[in-house]
């Protein structure tokens, strides 16, 4: 174990180097460009023996990854925002073919208007594609999660997206601890594909036409396998904790035991909110934080158990659903809590779209308001667009 200073992008590129995949096919996009740029230097210097395919679009990047994965390779790529949107069609194909591809993603707004900064609209728009989704709070976690995700993906045959917040994590230098190359290789093990299009003895047709008579059963089987990801994740995260000393639950709770109210959020905002929680705790206020780390598949029971403890919860969404009903985390959380025995009052704060800064004072305000909700036992305003000019 050694300690180094790296940005989120550098940390992800470093994890990719230690994983040493067979194929990386990628197309540059801000702010994820650095990941494959750094990785291409590893290729050029012979530090990995990966085939790096510098394709002409994100659509072809994921298409080439699908080909490489069906051929039996260990495969990764990286993208962000419009790039993930351009991959959207192929996300479903990768998942439907049970290909354990891993995307190192940097969360960035979707156009229009064009914007290169952080929100979660890109990955939230891909929720239904059948990919495991992990949201990281810092560079250390991005590094660790990429390694964990690869192993979970390969064990479950479910592809994975590991994401960091644009610029806030991707470009900010942090202290992190990394494993030795051999430790990573030992942890992930040799990749043994379930099938390969290069297996000449047993020729197969991959991605055939599948009509009314079989498609539904195949999808049902995929959904069934997808629901097993959480169990595998818990096991692998435990193994990783034994190796590294760092444990990442699918859902993280912070100072929640005796809390009356909590914020439920994801990504880098969770780290900022922890600071606020610490400060408020010193004042004797009973506040906590629940962080959504794995968002696909949904850790339903965990969310129910965690949020059921509070009188009131403020969901903080870094994207909107255009349903006129707040963000995706809010919508899904309300769905989860509908039949819960104990449920909190639930409000939504849509914040930080297009990289709008979220600071300690904003989060303090959310805690003030949610405490007020708990106290009066009712919600005045269900959905708040936090920090938007003309809204306050």
């Amino acid at each position: 174990m050694k300690t180094i200073a790296k940005t989120g992008n550098e940390a992800m590129a470093y994890a990719m180097k230690q994983i040493n995949p067979d194929v990386v096919a990628a197309y540059p996009i801000t702010p994820a460009t650095e990941i494959v740029q750094i990785f291409s230097n590893y290729v050029a210097d012979g530090e990995v023996d990966t085939e790096f395919v510098a394709v002409e679009s994100e659509h072809s990047a994921l298409s080439a990854c699908v080909g490489a994965s069906i051929a039996g390779g260990r495969v990764m790529t990286s993208t962000s925002s419009q790039g993930l949107a351009l991959m959207h069609e192929i996300l479903y194909i990768a998942a439907g073919n049970r290909l354990p591809i891993v995307i190192a993603l940097v969360n960035r707004s979707l156009s229009a208007p064009i914007n290169i900064h952080c929100d979660h609209s890109d990955t939230m728009g891909s929720r239904e594609a059948g990919w495991m989704q992990l949201y990281c709070a810092n560079s250390q976690e991005a590094y660790d999660s990429l390694i964990i995700a690869l192993k979970v993906a390969e064990q479950t045959a479910v592809p994975a997206i590991v994401s960091t917040d644009a610029f806030i994590i991707s470009h900010a230098m942090e202290r992190l601890e990394v494993l030795e190359d051999e430790e990573v290789q030992r942890f992930i093990g040799e990749y043994k594909p379930r099938f390969s299009a290069l297996d000449l003895e047993n020729p197969k047709t991959f991605g055939p036409l599948d009509l009314q008579d079989y498609f539904f059963e195949h999808k049902r089987a995929q959904i069934d396998d997808f629901s097993k990801v959480l169990g595998t994740y818990n096991k692998v995260a435990q193994e990783y904790a034994e190796l590294s000393g760092r444990y990442y639950p699918a859902l993280e709770e912070y100072k929640t035991d005796d809390a009356d109210v909590a914020i439920f959020t994801a990504g880098s905002t969770a780290d900022t909110a922890k600071e606020v929680v610490d400060g408020l705790r010193e004042q004797g206020r009973k506040v906590g934080l629940v962080r959504m780390r794995m968002w696909r598949p949904l850790p339903v029971e965990e969310i129910k158990a965690a949020l059921g403890k509070f009188k009131a919860v403020a969901v903080m969404d870094r994207s909107d659903t255009m349903a006129d009903f707040g963000g995706p985390v809010f919508l899904e959380t309300r769905g989860i809590l509908y039949d819960a025995k104990k449920k909190p009052l639930l409000t939504d704060y849509v914040y930080g779209l297009g990289g709008r800064n979220i600071d300690i004072s904003d989060i303090l305000r959310v805690y003030d308001e949610i405490e007020q909700v708990a106290k009066q036992g009712k919600i005045d305003k269900l959905i708040t667009y936090l920090g938007v000019r003309g809204e306050e």
């Binding site: 194929v23 080909g67 197969k204 036409l209």
Partner: protein, 310 residues
């Protein structure tokens, strides 16, 4: 080059039981291509389209070789990835066979929606053969026009009406676009001249880099001709100069068939329902335009051959 006798002894890559239309040229072409490739292990990919749909309906498949279907526009990118994985796994000692890669796409998946993916794959110089089976429209979805559809052809989205006589634009010259990429080998062929096609597949697979063959594949329901005329029509396309069969390698053009006396284009057109409206009185000028365009392109091709072999 493998003789017919040798080819007849090889294992078929595409076998019977698929659901292609009677008289389909594309299925014949793919069968011929896989026979030509058949002396070495071959792994294939295909775009969404007629041939994918009729050969892979789960739980059946007509493919005797590994086939990967991804989506409509990305057969070239998908096979790029397979070829990259092959190189990586070979380098790591996990694979020892010598495998050749062939990607297939129809004209929709190649001329149109898949052009970017194909262009990228050739530019990156993946060692693969890309075959376009060109039936000159989106036949799988019911005869809609593509950029490979010829001028004045009737399709369901370029119908011959009272004001507009079929597709108002000329066809895109994809073979020349690919040649501009400087591939290792490029050619036009058709299953009517099957030994020419087989020889071209062998050359393409032996070439050191990306190669491309554009195969004209007459389509019975789309073009509207009697189903026993497929091979006749694919030969007529060459004999009327509508579809010159030629190849390009190392900067040199070679026309493989120069009819001593080319047949008039109308001999090719009159057999097909998609051009029926052109034979009606008052449309003589369109026939003249079509003939003039075929002659012009032939002249250009002759000059290219002359200029690059001088």
């Amino acid at each position: 080059m493998a003789s017919l006798k040798e080819l007849s002894k090889r294992t078929e890559g595409l076998v019977g039981g698929h659901r292609a239309c009677a008289g389909c040229a594309a299925s014949t072409a793919i069968r011929q291509i896989l026979l030509a490739a058949g002396d070495k292990p071959t792994v294939t990919g295909i775009c969404t389209g007629c041939m994918e749909v009729v050969t892979t309906i789960f739980p059946y498949t007509a493919w005797n070789v590994n086939l990967v279907h991804n989506a409509f526009e990305n057969s070239a990118a998908t096979v790029s990835g397979m070829e990259a994985a092959y190189r990586a796994l070979k380098r790591k000692g996990k694979i020892d066979a010598e495998i050749q890669f062939i990607a297939f796409g129809g004209d929709g998946g190649t001329y149109d929606i898949g052009l970017q993916s194909l262009s990228g794959a050739i530019e990156r110089r993946h060692k693969m053969l890309y075959v376009c089976y060109d039936n000159e429209a989106y036949m799988n979805t019911g005869y809609q026009r593509s950029s490979a559809t010829p001028y004045c052809a009737h399709t369901t989205t370029s119908p011959a009406g009272t004001k507009i006589p079929g597709k108002p634009q000329k066809r895109k010259d994809l073979t020349e676009i690919i040649i501009a990429h400087d591939p290792a080998y490029a050619a036009q062929a058709t299953p009517g001249y099957y030994m020419d096609l087989i020889r071209k597949v062998e050359k393409a697979l032996a070439a050191d880099g990306p190669s491309f063959i554009n195969v004209l594949s007459p389509c019975v329901p789309g073009w509207g001709y009697p189903l026993n005329q497929t091979m006749n029509i694919s030969k007529l396309a060459v004999e009327t100069l509508f579809w010159p069969i030629y190849e390009w390698q190392d900067g040199k053009y070679k026309i493989n068939m120069k009819p001593r006396e080319p047949k008039p284009l109308v001999d090719f057109l009159k057999l097909q329902a998609r051009f029926r409206h052109l034979l009606k009185p008052g449309n003589e000028h369109l026939l003249e335009e079509l003939q003039a365009e075929v002659n012009r392109r032939w002249e250009v091709l002759l000059r290219k051959e002359q200029a690059t072999n001088g």
